[in-house]
């Protein structure tokens, strides 16, 4: 992601004090704990002009759920301003910077998996596809139910591993039908789930983050 943004002429900084957005606690229902982690995020990123996030899920947490966490708090104004400066990587490129071709090359066939948070909380659907369509050598094939959940869902994957895995099994079936070489997604957590299951099933499909693809020259 850094490489791609720099290639496009942007200056990228990485605040070294950063940790987590707090979503694991939030999604488990521990809102006060999540808010403490969010406080740290707000301090770390207070000065950033624009925050690029390589995950739809973390972006949704910050943009959509932080305002809920800070409702009626003195920081609510700060939070709402910061929320407007946070972008998921592909929407940043396409919708904010107006870039759909980053000059990447990758030979093969790919299918795209929509992460649920990016898709349904943020409405990101076209941006990653536009970027991938412009990757030289890459042909994009839609899989059946590309928009069904991969089965990760944070602690859900550990609390209900049988359901979580069954969902990924369906995903593998859809991906395999496309005969794609790559399954690409914008969310590291989906990729951990899908990649972990595909690898266990000895699938030949390689799972890649979209930033890795756009970085290929």
């Amino acid at each position: 992601m850094v490489n791609v943004l720099e290639r496009l002429g942007h200056e990228v900084d990485y605040p070294e004090g950063q940790t987590c957005c707090g979503q694991p606690a939030f999604n488990s229902g521990y809102f006060p704990e999540a808010k403490k982690v969010a406080d740290h995020f707000l301090n770390t990123f207070a000065d950033a002009d624009l925050i690029a996030v390589p995950s739809g899920s973390c972006t949704a947490m910050i943009r959509k759920f932080y305002p809920e966490l800070y409702q009626d708090s003195p920081q609510s104004q700060v939070v709402s301003e910061l929320s407007g400066r946070v972008f998921e990587f592909t929407e940043l490129l396409v919708n904010h910077l107006g870039v759909t071709d980053v000059g990447a090359k990758l030979e093969g066939t790919a299918t795209y998996h929509d992460g649920c948070h990016g898709l349904r909380e943020l409405g990101i659907q076209d941006a990653p596809r536009k970027l991938l369509e412009n990757v030289k050598g890459l042909s994009l094939v839609e899989m059946d139910e590309a928009q069904s959940c991969c089965g990760f869902g944070g602690t859900f994957a550990i609390k209900f591993p049988q359901i979580s895995t069954a969902m990924t099994q369906v995903k593998l079936g859809s991906a395999a039908q496309t005969e794609a070489d790559y399954l690409i997604s914008g969310d590291p957590s989906c990729l951990m789930q899908i990649g972990g299951y595909f690898s266990r099933q000895n699938s030949s499909i390689q799972c890649l983050h979209i930033a890795e693809v756009l970085d290929q020259q």
Binding site: Y14, E16, G17, Q18, T19, C20, G22, P24, A25, F26, N27, S28, G29, Y30, F31, E33, K36, V37, D39, H40, C116, R120, E121, Q147, S148, C149, G151, F152, G153, G154, T155, F156, A157, I158, K159, F160, P161, Q162, I163, S164, T165, A166, M167, T168, V170, M192, Q193, G195, G196, Y197, S199, R200
Partner: protein
């Protein structure tokens, strides 16, 4: 499900069984897929489906926000035409009210049309124990009744069964001919049921809507069985949750097509009836008595919750079940609830207690497919999150989880500790190598079915430093 089993254990056990049954899951998936395809096609015939969703939600919202007024109006109108309205706080009161009516009429047999609210109050169990013959007249309900099991899906009660299984069931229970033809199987059921309509003393139905303006219940069905159930026997009892109220007759012009579209993908269901009382003096048919039993059963608890009361807008179309990846993979019985799927997971903790039913809010990846499809725009998946918050706030997550979350907070607020934890994690990974993949591996729940990459040799922070 046995009554004594803890609901969480029952859910996990049944989920284990169903997720391991590839054949059943693929059958479920393809049936649900069919509904989804027709539904999408029907939705496209709306001029603007999104604004129809908003309008439908608003109509229900208006009723929920003024429930006291509309319920009173509904009851007054019904009573003015000679129906009796029973106000019941809970299952027990509703069961007693219904039993009393049946006993008063010295009835022998009861015919029912599909009504999930009677499942909620376990009416059939009670009536059978009291010695009455109870027959479900909806085909799907008739089938699950013969199998002595609960409806699998609150709109499609027998959707989990293949035609071959229904053939076997009918041969065994009804001494039917050997046929896998759905039409012939339907005729078998029809023949049995026709006799029952004629001999039944009491007809029990539900209601899809209660129209306050006219004081009429509205029933939606595809088989005509509800019309027979509500008009042939001399007494008609309708049981409905208080949230079924809608303000005006004209609201049906939108809500009926929305219910049909979202539920089954039909433009309109085959039969839509409005019933407003018993047979009037100048009328030649219809029941001699009509009773409407209004049930609260903790719906007012949900009404008192300003964040989640929109869940009372639900029109029970079942669309959220049809798109839910959890439902598709665990099936309906796993939930152990009257109302399955996302809406069931949202409301059951309110209706039956958060402590016992909070696991339903956790057994979701919060993917949001339910909220996206709901025809009345209930914020379903965020309500699951709110239930999780309420459970955690009450300490119901357990002490272990609480310690984990506090630990998480401590580490994530201190970058040096975060780095240290990362380092310790790597060390731990190396040290625990001998037990990797075994049951005592701390990551066993993950690794049983999924690989986990080794931690990266270099953290991003280290990479960033070396890059500069």
């Amino acid at each position: 499900m046995s009554q004594s089993t803890n609901p969480t254990t029952q859910f996990q056990t049944d989920a284990n069984r169903v997720t391991a049954d590839d054949d059943r899951r693929s059958f479920l998936r393809s049936s649900l897929r069919g509904y989804q395809t027709t539904r999408t096609a029907t939705q496209e015939r709306f001029l603007n489906y999104e604004s129809a969703r908003i309008a439908a939600g608003d109509a229900k919202w208006e009723a929920i926000e003024n429930l006291d007024t509309y319920l009173a109006q509904f009851a007054d109108k019904l009573e003015a035409r000679g129906a009796t309205v029973h106000w019941c706080n809970d299952s027990e009161e509703a069961r007693s009210a219904i039993l009393e009516i049946i006993k008063k009429h010295d009835a022998q047999s009861v015919i029912k049309s599909k009504c999930m609210t009677t499942e909620e109050i376990h009416l059939n169990d009670l009536l059978e124990k009291e010695g009455f013959e109870v027959v479900e007249s909806d085909l799907g309900e008739f089938i699950v009744q013969l199998r002595e099991e609960a409806p699998y899906h609150f709109v499609f009660p027998a959707m989990h069964l293949k035609k071959e299984e229904i053939n076997t069931l009918f041969q065994e229970k009804l001494k039917s001919i050997n046929t896998n033809d759905p039409e012939e199987l339907t005729m078998v059921a029809r023949e049995v049921l026709r006799q029952k309509y004629l001999s039944a003393d009491i007809g029990i139905s539900g209601a899809n809507f209660g129209v306050a303006e006219t004081g009429m219940i509205s029933i939606t069905e595809n088989e005509g069985n509800a019309r027979l159930t509500t008009s042939l026997p001399k007494v008609h009892i309708s049981l409905m949750g208080i949230e079924k109220i809608i303000p005006r007759l004209e609201d049906l012009a939108l809500l009926l097509p929305m219910l049909a579209t979202a539920g089954t993908g039909q433009h309109l269901t085959c039969y839509n009836s409005q019933l407003g009382g018993p047979r009037q003096e100048d009328e030649s048919d219809g029941p001699v008595e009509m009773h409407v039993v209004l049930l609260d059963n903790h719906r007012t608890r949900l009404l008192a919750d300003p964040e989640q009361r929109d869940a009372l807008r639900c029109i029970r179309c079942g669309a959220c079940l049809n798109v839910c990846p959890i439902f598709k993979n665990v099936g309906g019985h796993t939930y152990g609830t009257t109302y399955q799927g996302p809406i069931g997971s949202v409301i059951t903790p309110h209706l039956r207690g958060l402590k016992d039913w909070k696991h339903l809010s956790h057994s979701s990846s919060l993917c949001g497919a339910c909220s996206e499809t709901c025809p009345v725009k209930i914020d379903l998946h965020h309500h699951l999150l709110r239930n999780r918050r309420d459970a955690a706030g009450k300490g119901q997550g357990g002490i272990g989880e609480k310690i984990l979350m506090v630990g998480f907070t401590i580490v994530m607020r201190r970058p040096w500790l975060y780095r240290l934890a990362g380092g310790l994690g790597k060390l731990g990974h190396v040290l625990t190598k001998p037990i990797h993949g075994t049951r005592i591996d701390p990551f066993y729940a993950w690794k049983k079915t999924r690989d986990l990459d080794d931690p990266a040799k270099q953290s991003f922070k280290q990479y960033w430093k070396s890059r500069k």
